[in-house]
C-alpha cells in the first residue's frame, strides 16, 4: 500500500457528511477520515490488526462517496478495500473462496449451471436445494437473507440466448462490444436485452462475445488479485479480437472494474486501450440524445433516479442518466434526495453487515417515498437486488426498472 496516499488525508472532515456509515453512527471510527487514520496507524506500526480494528474497517461499504467529496483526492473507500484485499491475499484463499473465485466465477457455464438448482428451487419451493448451492455456503447464517434477495430468475441466462452479433437497425454507424455482466445475464436479462436493442436501434452493430468472463470485481473483494488479473487478461484478449469502437456495459460494477484494467497492468498498451474504450451505457446513449429523443414515445410517469455508487462515485457519471430520462416525452422527473448515497447493497455487504445495510436502505426508501415517484430507475444489479427487496417490503406500488428497460419501453411506446 502506498503510504503517501494515506498521509495525503489532511483530516479536513469534508468527506464526513457524505459517508453513509458516519451519517448513521456519527462515529469517527465509522468515517472516511477515521478509516484512513486506522489504516495509516497500522502501517506505522502504532496499531495492530486487531479484531476490533478489522471490524471497524469492515463497516465501510466501499461506496466511495468519500472520494467524490474529498477535495484533495483521497479515496478512503479504495484504501480500505486495498488494505483488506492485501490482508486477505496474504492469508491465501480458503477452500470455499478458491472454489467460488477460481472454479466458479471465471467460468460462465459453471456459474450458470450453479443457478439451475436455484431456478428449480423457485419452481418447486424446495429450500433444501438452496442449501446445496455452493455460492450460498460462503455465508451459512445469512443464507435466508440472501435467498430473500433473489428475485424471480429468467428461464435462461441471457448469455445463452443472445446472438453473438446483433445487426444495426438501419444505417450502421459503428460497432460496439457488449460486456455482459454475470448478474445482469443471470438475473436481469431483460434489462440487458433492452440495452442491446437500444444500441442496435441507434445504428450500432452489437457484438456480445460468448466466451467473455466475469469482470473480476468479486475476486478483488475476496482478496484474489491474481484471479482478477487472469479474468481481466481473458477479457482483454477476447475483445481485442474484434474491431469495436466502444466496449459497452449496463452494469455499473463491471464498468468501474473494466475501466481499471489499464491500471492493473501497468505499461500494457492493450489493457490501456481496452479500458479507454469502455463506456457505461448511459454515456454512449447520451452521445446520441437527439436521435434517441426523436425515437422515444410518451410515457406519462413520475420517475426518479438512484445513482449507483459504481456509476456516480467510481465513474463520475451523474448527468447522463438524468439527461436520458428527461428525453422521454411526458415523463416527469423527480430528483431524489441524497440520490447518490449508497443503498446498502455494496457487493456482499447486505449479507455481511445486515444491520447497517438495513439502516442505509431505510434512509433510501424514505427518500424514495418522499419523491412521490411511481418508477425508480437505477442501473446496477447490486442496487436492483437491494431496492427490489426494499420496495417489495415497504413500497410495493413503486416499480423498479433499469435505465435501459425504461428507455426501451418508451421506444416501444
Amino acid at each position: 500500500m502506498d503510504y503517501v496516499k494515506l498521509i495525503n488525508c489532511m483530516r479536513c472532515g469534508m468527506c464526513l457528511p457524505h459517508c453513509p456509515t458516519y451519517k448513521e453512527t456519527f462515529l469517527e471510527t465509522a468515517s472516511p477520515r477515521g478509516r484512513v487514520a486506522l489504516v495509516r496507524k497500522v502501517q506505522e506500526g502504532e496499531l495492530d490488526q486487531s479484531e476490533r480494528l478489522l471490524e471497524y474497517l469492515s463497516l465501510c461499504l466501499d461506496c466511495q462517496a468519500c472520494a467524490s467529496a474529498c477535495p484533495c483526492g483521497v479515496n478512503a473507500g479504495e484504501l480500505v478495500a486495498e488494505f483488506t484485499c492485501e490482508r486477505k491475499g496474504a492469508q491465501g484463499l480458503g477452500f470455499m473462496e478458491d472454489m467460488i473465485l477460481r472454479q466458479l466465477v471465471p467460468h460462465p457455464d459453471r456459474l450458470e449451471s450453479s443457478m439451475v438448482p436455484m431456478r428449480a428451487y423457485q419452481k418447486t419451493g424446495l429450500q433444501k436445494l438452496v442449501r446445496k448451492l455452493g455460492i450460498l455456503k460462503m455465508f451459512p447464517k445469512p443464507l435466508e437473507r440472501m435467498e430473500g434477495l433473489l428475485p424471480e430468475l429468467p428461464k435462461r441466462p441471457l448469455r445463452q440466448e443472445i446472438r453473438e452479433i446483433t445487426p444495426a437497425v438501419g444505417k450502421e454507424r459503428g460497432t460496439v462490444g457488449f460486456f455482459l455482466g454475470c448478474v445482469m445475464s443471470l438475473i436481469f436479462s431483460e434489462a440487458s436485452r433492452a440495452t442491446i436493442q437500444l444500441l442496435s436501434s441507434l445504428g450500432y452493430r452489437v457484438i456480445t462475445p460468448k466466451n467473455q468472463v466475469c469482470c473480476g470485481a468479486p475476486n478483488m473483494l475476496g482478496g484474489d488479485l491474481e484471479g482478477l488479473k487472469s479474468e481481466a487478461r481473458t477479457n482483454i484478449d477476447i475483445f481485442s479480437g474484434y474491431d469495436v469502437d466502444f466496449i459497452v456495459t449496463d452494469c455499473g460494477g463491471c464498468g468501474a472494474e473494466l475501466k481499471k484494467y489499464g491500471h492493473h497492468f501497468e505499461d500494457d498498451g492493450k489493457a490501456a486501450a481496452f479500458s479507454a474504450k469502455v463506456r457505461d451505457i448511459s454515456q454512449l446513449l447520451a452521445m446520441h440524445s437527439d436521435e434517441l429523443q426523436a425515437m422515444l414515445k410518451p410515457l406519462d410517469l413520475q420517475v426518479t433516479y438512484h445513482d449507483p455508487c459504481h456509476i456516480a462515485h467510481c465513474q463520475g457519471i451523474r448527468s447522463q442518466p438524468r439527461q436520458l430520462l428527461k428525453l422521454i416525452p411526458g415523463l416527469q422527473y423527480r430528483e431524489l434526495a441524497e440520490a447518490d448515497a449508497c443503498c446498502g447493497s455494496a457487493g456482499t455487504y447486505n449479507i455481511a453487515k445486515p444491520e447497517m445495510s438495513d439502516r442505509i436502505l431505510q434512509r433510501k426508501l424514505d427518500n424514495i417515498r418522499a419523491s412521490n415517484a411511481e418508477v425508480l430507475v437505477t442501473s446496477n444489479p447490486g442496487c436492483l437486488l437491494q431496492l427490489k427487496k426494499g420496495l417489495a417490503d415497504q413500497l410495493p406500488e413503486v416499480k423498479l426498472m433499469h435505465l435501459t428497460e425504461l428507455l426501451a419501453k418508451s421506444l416501444a411506446g
Binding site: V4, I7, R11, G13, M14, L16, R33, L38, L47, G73
Partner: protein, 456 residues
C-alpha cells in the same frame, strides 16, 4: 485512565457511548490541525445536557481534564486532549426551536451548521455565519471558535449572532447567559466572553442565535486579475466605494489551480488571482451594487468579469471556494495554514509580505481567504517528512505574524489560538492581556480542568 473511573463515566452515558479501546481513541486524537496529535483517555458521547453536567461534576471531583469536541475540524488543535476525557457532541444535535416571532433559533451544540441554514431558510429566514466547513462543523464548535465565513464582510461572524447560551461550568453547575432579549445590560456581558473561549471556560449545551430575514436576491460574480496586487487594490476600492458585498473572497494562482482540478467550475488557470464577489439584498439595490463592483474591477485591470447565470452556477462557485483549503492539499501531503488578519486597507501590503516570506524561505505558499475581512489564509504546502522544509515554513509564518501585528492586525482572525498559536499570543496581547485572560479562566474554572493547555 483508571478502569474504575471509566466505569463511573459509563454509568452516566452508557456502555455504548463510552469509547475507551485504543482503536477508537486513535481516531479522536486528531482534528484538522496539521502536525498535532495526542491520545485522549476516553471519549464520551452524552445524550443530554444533564449527562454533560454529571460528567463535568464527576471529573471536577476527581480532578480529571475534560475537552469538548464537535466535529474536530478546527485548525488550532483545540479539540485535542492528552489522556483526558473528550466529550463529543454528535448526539446533542437537535434543532430545539425556530422562533419566528422573536427571530431566534435555539439549538443543541452538536447541530451541524448547514442543517440550521437549511431549516431556517426554508422559513424565509437567514443565519449568515457560513464557515468553509459548514457542512460538517457543529454550532458548538462555531461558537467556541467564533467562526467566520464567506459572508463575514457584510454580516459579521458567529459572535454577532449569539444571543443566549446555556453552559455547563467546570464543576457541573449550569450558567445561563443572555436569551431572546435584544437588549440586556444586566451585569457583565458574559456571552462575548464565552464565544471564542475554545472550550476552556465552559461546555455549551444550548445556543440561541439571532436570525434575520433572508435576502431577497443575490448576484454572484467572479473577476479575473492577471496581477495579484490589482486584485488586492480592487478589494480596498470596493469597500472604499461604500459597497459592502456579502462575500469578497480571494484566491491566488496556486489555489485556483488546485480548486479547479477538483471542482471543475471553469476557474481561469492563467491569472494570478480571482475575486469571488456576492452582493445580496433587494433586487434593485444589488443590481446597482453589482454594476459598481464590475466597474471597480475593470478599473483595476480585471481581465475578465463573469456574473453567475443562475443560482446553480452561483452555488457551484461558492462551494468550490469552500474546498480551497483541502484542495491545496492535492499538491503536497501537509498543508500548514495560517489565519493572520489585518485591517482591510492593508490587504495589498499583506500579500506582498506573504510573497516575500515565501521567497525568502523557499517555500510554496498558496493564499486564499476572506479578503473583504482582511483575513487571508496563507497556506504552506509541505511534507511532514521533510523537517527542514517544515522549519522554514514556520520561520516564514513567524515573519508574516510579526508583519500582521505591525499593521495593527492579529495572529488569528477566526481559527483560534488553541495549541497551534499559543506561542504568538503574548506578542499580540502583551503581559497584561495574558494576566487578565488567566484571571478570567481562574474565575470560571479554578481547578483548570476544562481543555487545559489551550490558548495560553
Amino acid at each position: 485512565m483508571e478502569q474504575s473511573f471509566i466505569n463511573e463515566l459509563k454509568n452516566i452515558v452508557g456502555e455504548q457511548y463510552t469509547l475507551a479501546a485504543r482503536e477508537s481513541l486513535a481516531v479522536y486524537g486528531y482534528d484538522s490541525t496539521p502536525e498535532l496529535e495526542s491520545l485522549p483517555g476516553v471519549v464520551l458521547l452524552p445524550g443530554s445536557a444533564g449527562e454533560v453536567a454529571q460528567i463535568m461534576a464527576l471529573c471536577h471531583g476527581a480532578g480529571v481534564n475534560v475537552t469538548p469536541r464537535g466535529s474536530g475540524t478546527n485548525l488550532s488543535g483545540g479539540s485535542l486532549s492528552k489522556g483526558g476525557v473528550v466529550v463529543q457532541t454528535s448526539r446533542l444535535n437537535r434543532l430545539v426551536e425556530i422562533d419566528e416571532e422573536n427571530l431566534t433559533a435555539t439549538v443543541e451544540p452538536g447541530l451541524i451548521t448547514s442543517t440550521l441554514h437549511r431549516e431556517v431558510e426554508a422559513r424565509g429566514l437567514f443565519y449568515p455565519p457560513d464557515p468553509g466547513s459548514m457542512n460538517i462543523s457543529t454550532m458548538g464548535g462555531n461558537v467556541a471558535e467564533n467562526s467566520g465565513g464567506l459572508r463575514g464582510l457584510k454580516y459579521g461572524v458567529t459572535a454577532d449572532y449569539v444571543m443566549g447560551l446555556e453552559t455547563v461550568l467546570a464543576n457541573g453547575d449550569l450558567l445561563r447567559t443572555g436569551g431572546k432579549v435584544v437588549k440586556d445590560v444586566a451585569g457583565y456581558s458574559l456571552n462575548p466572553l464565552l464565544v471564542s473561549s475554545e472550550g476552556t471556560l465552559g461546555f455549551f449545551t444550548g445556543i440561541t442565535v439571532k436570525l434575520i430575514p433572508k435576502p431577497q436576491g443575490k448576484i454572484t460574480m467572479l473577476a479575473h486579475f492577471p496581477a495579484l496586487q490589482d486584485a488586492a487594490l480592487a478589494v480596498s476600492a470596493i469597500i472604499a466605494a461604500k459597497v459592502i458585498p456579502a462575500t469578497l473572497e480571494f484566491l491566488d494562482r496556486v489555489t485556483i489551480k488546485c480548486v479547479e482540478d477538483y471542482a471543475h467550475v471553469g476557474l481561469p488557470l492563467d491569472v494570478d488571482a480571482v475575486l469571488l464577489i456576492e452582493v445580496d439584498g433587494h433586487p434593485a439595490v444589488i443590481a446597482e451594487e453589482a454594476a459598481a463592483v464590475a466597474e471597480i474591477c475593470q478599473k483595476h485591470r480585471s481581465s475578465f468579469f463573469q456574473t453567475a447565470k443562475d443560482a446553480d452556477e452561483a452555488l457551484k462557485l461558492a462551494t468550490a471556494r469552500r474546498t480551497a483549503l483541502s484542495a491545496l492539499a492535492r499538491l503536497k501531503p501537509t498543508t500548514i495554514l495560517e489565519d493572520a488578519t489585518v485591517p482591510r486597507s492593508c490587504i495589498a501590503p499583506m500579500l506582498q509580505v506573504i510573497q516575500a516570506a515565501a521567497a525568502k524561505y523557499n517555500v510554496t505558499i498558496g493564499t486564499f481567504g476572506h479578503a473583504g475581512d482582511g483575513n487571508l489564509h496563507p497556506t504552506c504546502l509541505t511534507d511532514e517528512r521533510d523537517q527542514d522544509e517544515i522549519k522554514r515554513a514556520h520561520a516564514a509564518f513567524e515573519e508574516i505574524f510579526d508583519a500582521a501585528i505591525g499593521m495593527g492586525g492579529t495572529i488569528t482572525g477566526e481559527h483560534g489560538v488553541g495549541l497551534a498559536k499559543k506561542k504568538y499570543l503574548p506578542r499580540l496581547v502583551g503581559e497584561s492581556g495574558i494576566r487578565v485572560m488567566k484571571g478570567i479562566k481562574q474565575a470560571f474554572d479554578p481547578k483548570g480542568i476544562l481543555n487545559p493547555g489551550k490558548v495560553f
